[in-house]
Structures are given as structure tokens and as C-alpha cells.
Amino acid sequence: MNKPTVLEVRNLTRRFGGLVAVNNISFDVHEHEVVGLIGPNGSGKTTTMNLISGALPPSSGEIWLGDTCISRLPARRIARSGVARTFQLVRMLPSLSILENVKAGAVFGHQQLWGSELDHHARRLLERVGVMHDPDAPTSSLTYIDQKRVELARALASNPRVLLLDEWLAGLNPTELQQGIELIADLRDEGRTILLVEHVMDAIRSLCDRCVVMSSGSKISEGGTEDVLSDAAVIEAYLGKDDE
């Protein structure tokens, strides 16, 4: 890989009381790359995402975005330096319209727009992620997948350097899943840098250039997607779990 490193995670550890949810994890994400963060339930994937996005401070270790160390910064500063995320359980802003939900991502973050420019930008993004709904309607009128799309549009709205997707494809039916995979593939072809947590094997195979595998908080494998998925340790970690 000769592409420059965008996100660099170094010896990241996070404890909750006695529980070590993330244990000394290190990995890199290069520019224009889609990296999968996978592992059985409770292995610390969401916690890793929370540490990168600043929802939680790490117990030790460092996270670098380009040449700034972001591991001690508050979430808002991390967002401004170019990390955007979606949440494992969709988080809409219920009293805001669909359009405003998208705008929320583009006013205070990595990219800061206002006025008619913001309006155009948000409408374009809604179209981009495939929400055909009336943009001024409340979010409660959206289907589940459309809510996920709006959340994705909000994350994209800041034009982030790294996009963190936490099980963005979970809970979709087979048709929606196909559409979802295509959408993320589009983003990859557009040159986005993405770190995604996923359980759906089809999605991992078709989207991820590389994978990092976690189990009980530790990294047990890393490498090209096919290699990693046939790795004995990885198969063992997944066996006994009924995820797949």
C-alpha cells in the first residue's frame, strides 16, 4: 500500500471497570480504502468506533488523523477535523425535518455551510443516498432504511476525511441490503475513506479491501478480506457464535 495513511490507531485500550473492552489495538486506514472492523458480538467494535469518534476517551493509546493526534480531543473537535459517524441504533433528530437532519451535519463540522449553499448541498445528498421523500416532512414518516439513509447523508454532509459506519446494513431486508451495499460501493468508488463495522458476510466480501478482526477486545487478525476470512483463528472466534 503506497496510499497515505489517513487514520492511525496505536495501542488503543479502553477499560470499563474491570472489563477490558478494547485491548491494545493497532491498525491503519489508508486513503480511499474501505476497511472492515469485524468480530463476534461484544468484541469491542462499537467501543473502538466510540473511541475514534471521541464519544469515549481511551484509557491509553493514541489515534492519529493525518498528522493530528485526536485521541485526547472532545468529540466536536474530532468531528471538525474530519471524522463523521453513524450509530449502531439509528439516531434521528425527531423534531427536525428530513432536510434539517441532513443539514445538521454540514454546519458545524469539517465543512461549514450556511444559507442557500447549505440547502442545495443537503438536497443533493438526499438524492445521492436515494431518499425520495418530501424533504420538509418529519423523520417519523420515513421507513427504517430511509432513516438509515438520512443518517448516512448527515454523516456525509460534512465531507469527512474518514467515515465510520457502525452496522449500517443491519436490520435491512434482502432487497434493501442489496441497495445498501450498492450505495456504499458507490461511496467507495467516489474515493471515500471508510471504516465499517459489519456482520453481514456478503457485504464484507464485496465492500472491504481489508479487514481487522477483533475478539474479546483484542485484534486477532488483519489483512486482505479473503485471507482474513479463511484464517483459522478468525473462524474459531466466530464458531459457536450464531452470527452467520
Binding site: 466536536r76 439516531r91 433528530l93 425527531p94 423534531s95 434539517e100 458545524f108 469539517h110
Partner: protein
């Protein structure tokens, strides 16, 4: 769109103009005795909603700011000019709000309520103690030649200012930020919003307004003493009026202030012991029957009528 806004602006200006003529009605003592408190609560409830409406933080600190303002005027009257005192009241009220906000707004809502509930009481006890031990008097006289009508006009001016500011904020990034925070603080942080600063800023604004109102009202007391200036009842009145009217619209609190203040005066005049009961019932009505306030009910009805016409 632009034209509609212009029409609205002219209408609002017209209403304010008409209201300003009120004191010119002859033999208006009883009318003014009602109009001044209504104008006062209108300013307090509307500025309270600027912060508490979008964030859902129930602030009971109004009495604290109000009292600080009243005391600023009462104690400074011999030294400073009146307009300067109003400015000082705004600065002191805003400063107090900044302190309170910075210590409590990063914590959860319950802490904030409890903290603000006790704040006025804390200041009242401190002021009383100070006066008893160091000045030897229980309060201070406020002698000015400010008339009831002038107080009313000042309050009306403040109300116009609150509306103007509220309108500007609603169209600004600050207003957008506070709405996002009120919806989901975590999303707000991850969108790059400085949540603490945004909340404190709006809280300062509402604190400053309450303090100025206290200063404007002080001449009406003639004698300013702690139990009056820092009365916790004032805070509760503001909360219940604002919620009754509806805090999701700038004009919502007004719809609560006017009827509540009138009924309150009626009850206070006829059954002076029952005002507390009335306040309690009003709280329960808000929670159980009209959580969106009168404004919410009105909007719903309007929506229904429009739908019927459309379909």
C-alpha cells in the same frame, strides 16, 4: 416568502404600537395594575423559553436573576445613572447565569432543576444575612420618579427586544445548534457543535433578561427586601406560564401568560389562600392534557382545518 415575513413584521409592529397606547387611556389604574405584571411575565416567560424551550432544561433560577437585578438597581441608584444600572443588571444576571450554567449544564436535567431551585434561596439567605449583620437594615428603599406607565413601556420595549433576538436566533446557526442539542446531544457533539458553550450562551441571555426585568420592576416595590426580590414563586409562575402557552414557538408563552395572569389575579383577589392550589393544578394540566401548550393545540386545530379544506 419574503413578502409574507414583511407582512408579519408590520403586523407585530402594529400590535406593539397599539399596546403602547394602553397607558394613555384615562383612569386606567386597574388596567395598568394588570398590564404591568402581564408585560413582566411576558418578557420573563418568553426569554425563559429561548433557553428552556429547545433544551428541555427546566430552569427555576428566574427569581435569582430577577432579584439580582432588583438589588442592583436598589443599591446603585444613588451612585449610577438609571440606564447604566440596567446595563449592570444585565451583566450581573448574565454573569451569574454563566457561572451556574458552566457548573451544572454538563450534568443531567435533574441536577440542573435542583440546583436552580435552590439558587434563589441561597442568594436570599446570603443577602438577608449580610443585611442583618453589616447594614443593619432589612431592605432598601427605591425612590424614583419613574411612573407605572414608564415601567410598562420599558417592559414592552424589552418584550420587543426578546422577540427580535428570538427571531434572529431562530434563523442563525446558534438557533440551529440549540435545536439539535435539544433533540440529541450526542449527535450534536458528533456534528461538531460545542454543546456546553451553546447552552451556556442561551442561558446567559435568559438570565440577563430576567435581571433587567428585576431592575425595571424595582421602583414599583418602593421597598426592596430579599423575600420579595428572590421569591421562588416567581420562578414557578414563569415556568408554568411558558409551558402552558407552549415553548416550541416564540409566540407560544404569550398564550399562557395572558390567561394565567388574569385568572391568577382573580383568584388572588377573591380566594387569596388558593393560589398555590391553582398553580399546582395548572402544572398538572400542562403535563397531562396539553404537553405542547396552547400553541400546540392551536396548531393542531389549524392543521385539521387546513386538511379538511384541502381534502
Amino acid at each position: 416568502m419574503k413578502q409574507q415575513e414583511l407582512i408579519r413584521l408590520v403586523l407585530v409592529a402594529l400590535v406593539f404600537g397599539l399596546l403602547a397606547l394602553l397607558p394613555l387611556i384615562p383612569a386606567n389604574d386597574r388596567l395598568m395594575a394588570l398590564a404591568v405584571p402581564i408585560a413582566m411575565y411576558a418578557v420573563l416567560a418568553t426569554s425563559w423559553s429561548l433557553f428552556s424551550g429547545p433544551t428541555h432544561y427546566i430552569s427555576l433560577a428566574t427569581a435569582a436573576f430577577y432579584g439580582v437585578g432588583a438589588y442592583t438597581l436598589a443599591n446603585g441608584l444613588e451612585v449610577f445613572s438609571y440606564p447604566l444600572l440596567l446595563l449592570m443588571a444585565a451583566l450581573l444576571g448574565g454573569g451569574l447565569a454563566a457561572l451556574v450554567g458552566m457548573t451544572t449544564l454538563r450534568l443531567s436535567g435533574v441536577y440542573f432543576v435542583i440546583f436552580t431551585l435552590g439558587l434563589a434561596e441561597l442568594i436570599r439567605q446570603l443577602v438577608t444575612w449580610y443585611q442583618n449583620n453589616f447594614t443593619g437594615s432589612r431592605g432598601s428603599y427605591v425612590f424614583t420618579d419613574i411612573t407605572e406607565a414608564q415601567i410598562y413601556w420599558q417592559l414592552l420595549g424589552l418584550l420587543a427586544l426578546v422577540f427580535l433576538l428570538g427571531w434572529l436566533i431562530n434563523r442563525s446557526r446558534l438557533g440551529f445548534a440549540i435545536r439539535i442539542i435539544g433533540n440529541d446531544e450526542l449527535v450534536a457533539r458528533h456534528s461538531g457543535i460545542n454543546t456546553a458553550r451553546t447552552k451556556v450562551l442561551l442561558f446567559i441571555l435568559s438570565g440577563a433578561f430576567a435581571a433587567v426585568v428585576g431592575a425595571v420592576m424595582a421602583p414599583r416595590f418602593v421597598y426592596v427586601e430579599p423575600s420579595m426580590a428572590f421569591s421562588p414563586q416567581l420562578s414557578f409562575m414563569v415556568v408554568v406560564m411558558a409551558l402552558l402557552g407552549g415553548v416550541h414557538r416564540l409566540w407560544g408563552p404569550l398564550l399562557g401568560v395572558v390567561p394565567f395572569a388574569i385568572v391568577w389575579e382573580l383568584i388572588a383577589a377573591n380566594f387569596p389562600g388558593q393560589t398555590v392550589l391553582f398553580m399546582g393544578l395548572a402544572f398538572l394540566v400542562v403535563v397531562y392534557f396539553i404537553p405542547q401548550g396552547v400553541a400546540g393545540v392551536l396548531e393542531q386545530q389549524l392543521h385539521k382545518i387546513r386538511q379538511r379544506r384541502g381534502g
